[in-house]
């Protein structure tokens, strides 16, 4: 755990992809796709079917994953980074940040103070519905305009739309209150609006509290690839999306779609509508602010549940409605994002397969392990190679590169949450608006229950298997079933270890550092660290 997080506060940018790098990546992608083709040629054979329904389910899970992998690989081939453009002088810019009851006051103090240090002339607005005079005090002390927006539907989006009516700046930066912007933020993004078709400019979301817990680290790890190669690829195909914080909108674009979108994935709704209205989007892979990731497991799950429920709304409501207005790549991109949380269902089924074998003796597929390995290994090798290679385009490789096993554990541990979000969407059942926790909530979260249930189930099953095979299975059957049984136990053991990893996060979440992370953020340091960069982009050419 590096004690020195000083490097976090300096401007960072992902590298531009060179022709040579793209070429190598292209070769890897072709290799990967071919391996998948060869695997599929081997996989889909009648002799491999043991139980047809289970084989269909298993195949659907596997090939759904493969299809998504191909889509993301192909989008990597379009990785591109917009050339920096100097911000034109004299534009009128607003920064919107919202406050809700219960959000810590100290955080607003820090963020609003940081906003005041942003170089490009702008007005900061605090969109407040706390009915607490101290928030107004904090806003005004930091030179921000306090707007009281109480009782509007749609929480954050409602307040933004209310504020749009009471302001008239041409550009609006929507900043989450936990994100501390760097002085050069607006100078980095405003130039892109020179193109009159650009509707919004999204920049990377980076964090400064990931070293405070397993959950925070894992949650941050899940985003490194997204804000690096993934969004850069989506930018390349004209489908980069707006993600909550750090998105700068052209007022005209927001107004053309009737204001900021509502719902649990309001940012994605806004993005798809702006794309649908024909605006272009820019994704710039630069770090010009840092915010917070959930530090405890429960808060992380709440955030994921909110997104899982919200994203499906985009899939079921927005994509069909706007389908005709989107480009082919945008359609593919939004459908891919919209189905991300199906991972909950696939993980659940995947986890169930060995238990169906243990309890009912049903195998989905009749495959020898070795040929499977021989066909699957090339896919795995190319997959890992591509995964590692595209880390070249992370925004801050020094702190972000690596094997993100905590992120994988956390994603696995969230499968019940994803599944719940999916099911709620299917039956169109609402979940209440849950603000992403800005402060850790103590205790043993109810989100840990499915993990505990899985761990208990696994241990009981293994105990049963040991008992059964020691005392009940006839010696004449033992050796013929040994390999199959224990390889299934091994297979189930992977998921078991993942759940155990999730429990580490849960356990650690009970006792997290007391100190508020923003207390130690030094705004003067941020100004100093980014002075050179600011000078270089603002000096007249």
């Amino acid at each position: 755990m590096p004690a020195d997080t000083k490097s976090f506060w300096q401007y960072r940018e992902a590298l531009q992809a060179t022709a040579r790098e793209k070429f190598l990546l292209g070769a890897l992608v072709v290799g990967g796709c071919l391996s998948i083709l060869l695997l599929s040629d081997w996989w889909f054979r009648e002799e491999h079917v043991a139980s047809l329904p289970l084989f269909v389910i298993l195949s659907a899970i596997l090939w759904w994953g493969m299809l998504r992998m191909i889509i993301i690989w192909v989008s990597y081939l379009h990785i591109s980074k917009p050339a920096p453009r100097p911000a034109p002088a004299g534009k009128r810019v607003a920064i919107f940040t919202t406050s809700s009851p219960g959000e810590p006051l100290g955080m607003f103090d820090k963020t609003l103070a940081a906003c005041a240090r942003i170089n490009y002339p702008h007005t900061t607005y605090l969109l407040d519905d706390t009915r607490d005079p101290r928030y107004r005090e904090v806003a005004e002390r930091n030179g921000a305009v306090w707007l009281e927006l109480v009782g509007l539907p749609g929480a954050k989006a409602g307040k933004i739309n209310g504020a749009l009516k009471r302001t008239d700046e041409e550009f609006i930066l929507v900043l989450d209150p936990d994100h501390i912007p760097f002085p050069n933020f607006l100078d980095e993004v405003l130039g892109y609006f020179d193109d009159p078709d650009v509707g919004y400019v999204q920049v990377s979301q980076a964090y400064y509290n990931q070293y405070r817990s397993f959950t925070a680290q894992g949650a941050a790890e899940q985003t490194y690839g997204f804000y690096g190669p993934t969004q850069m690829g989506m930018h390349g195909i004209g489908a980069s999306v707006a993600i909550g914080a750090n998105c700068t909108f052209r007022r005209e674009a927001l107004e053309s779609i009737g204001g900021h979108g509502h719902g649990l994935a309001e940012d994605l709704v806004t993005a798809i509508r702006i794309h649908g209205a024909g605006w272009r989007s820019i994704y710039s892979p630069i770090v010009v602010s840092r915010g917070l990731v959930p530090e405890d497991f429960g808060s992380f799950c709440k955030q994921q549940l909110k997104w899982a429920r919200g994203v499906h709304e985009v899939l079921f409501a927005e994509v069909p409605r706007l389908f005709r207005n989107l480009t082919g790549w945008q359609r593919l991109s939004y459908i891919t994002i919209g189905t991300y949380y199906l991972a909950g269902l696939t993980t659940f089924l995947f986890l169930l397969i060995p238990f169906i074998f243990f309890w009912f003796g049903i195998m989905p597929a009749q495959m020898e392990f070795v040929p499977f390995l021989v066909h699957w290994l090339p896919v795995a090798i190319f997959g890992v190679a591509i995964y590692l290679y595209v880390q070249l385009w992370m925004c801050h490789p020094a702190s972000e590169r690596g094997v993100h096993w905590r992120g994988m554990v956390l994603k696995f541990a969230c499968f019940p949450v994803f599944l719940m979000g999916f099911v709620l969407s299917l039956i169109d059942h609402p979940i209440p608006y849950i603000p992403t926790a800005k402060q850790s909530v103590k205790g043993f979260t109810p989100f840990a229950r499915p993990l505990i249930a899985h761990i208990v189930l696994f241990l009981v099953t293994v105990l049963y298997i040991v008992f059964h095979r020691s005392f009940i299975v006839h010696e004449a059957a033992l050796e013929l079933t040994s390999e199959r049984t224990w390889s299934m136990v091994g297979f189930a053991g992977i998921a078991f270890l993942m759940s155990c990893g999730g429990m580490i996060a849960v356990w650690e979440s009970q006792d997290l550092p007391e100190e508020d992370p923003w207390d130690s953020v030094d705004l003067d340091l941020i100004v100093a660290e980014n002075k050179d960069r600011l000078d270089s982009i603002t000096k007249p050419s």
Binding site: G31, F369, V370, V374, A476, L478, S482
Partner: protein, 390 residues
Amino acid sequence: MYRITLTVLAFGIGIALVMALTYAGQKSSGPIEDAVTTIGTKVTEIEHEVVVSTQEKSRADYLSWFQPYRIGTYRISHPDTILWGAYDNTQSDSYEPIVALEDTLHMKFAVVQIYSAWGSKPDERFPFNQAKAIYDLGSIPMITWEPWLNDFDNEKFPTKGDITNRNWGGMKAIAAGEYDAYIDEWAGRVKTFGANIYLRLGHEMNDPYRYPWGPQNNKPEEYIAAWKHVHDRFIAAGAKNVQWIWSPHPAYRQFNEYYPGDAYVDWIGIPTLNYGTVAPWSQWWSFNDIFGVYYDSLAVFKKPVMLSEIGCLRVGGSREKWFADALANLPVRYPLVKAILFYHSNNDNTTMDKTLDWTLLRDKPTIQAIRTAVSRWKLPPMHQPAVKTP
């Protein structure tokens, strides 16, 4: 143009990478595969040891008298008793059906039969795990090894013959070494296995209507050449733990023409199945019709004889009587018979388009008839086909 060139090049490199991996994967039927197979075998072995050590007496303990047959070269080819054995078609996940039959018959089967086809698929390799399981149960595996040649991969096993029908002239191709890679790998695994096995290669080779390794595709001398070639490859591979069973169908008289020679054969295997009147070509043949009348012409080979598949259907006569007649005083009537293997399949569709049931388990009169006949035999007490110990 520049872009197109780059794209084409990237494709080329991608394809090359895949080919390199695939090639490495095929070659490394070595490292990865061996490692995984070894792990699987180790797991099986450890579990077997742990579980068996907790049990009071395993099946192998009842067959301890049989140990000299399983290891070493002398006893296996000079049997001093009659060995019992069986094949059961439901034995793929467990040998419990075998155990159930032997318990009912008050015997212990020293030999368990497995059928294994030739081919380049993974399940056509030497059935190591099955053989090991049989060994650990105290018995010896008898593997009927059937050279069906159409299951070979055309790339890995090119042939000078007809690629669409490898069976045509297949024995010649075997003798010419076209399948040596397969044979050598099989033999290598047999050597690794270590303990004695019975190997019945290309059985009923003189039956013109049945198997592709028979007269329809091959001449007798070609069959013999193939047999010798396979045998020699085993010796060359160091797989000397094999008892070679030459298994003609005596009803087709010219079986002598197919005999590979005394140096290449350890046992004579004879299938003795009575199909009764299920088919137009069959009638109720007694054991004497099927086996007895040919005994003298088989005895000239001076090799121990194994009744590799004994069975009788119930259509057209009394099965009880058939077995009673067959087994009555058998050691005296046919002194060269040293092993008898029940053919115990409830789902035999190899000869007809209907399914035949050869099982005895629930046929109490037949079971009783077999037990009575065998109990009257006069064999040395130790070798009295193991009466079930309490």
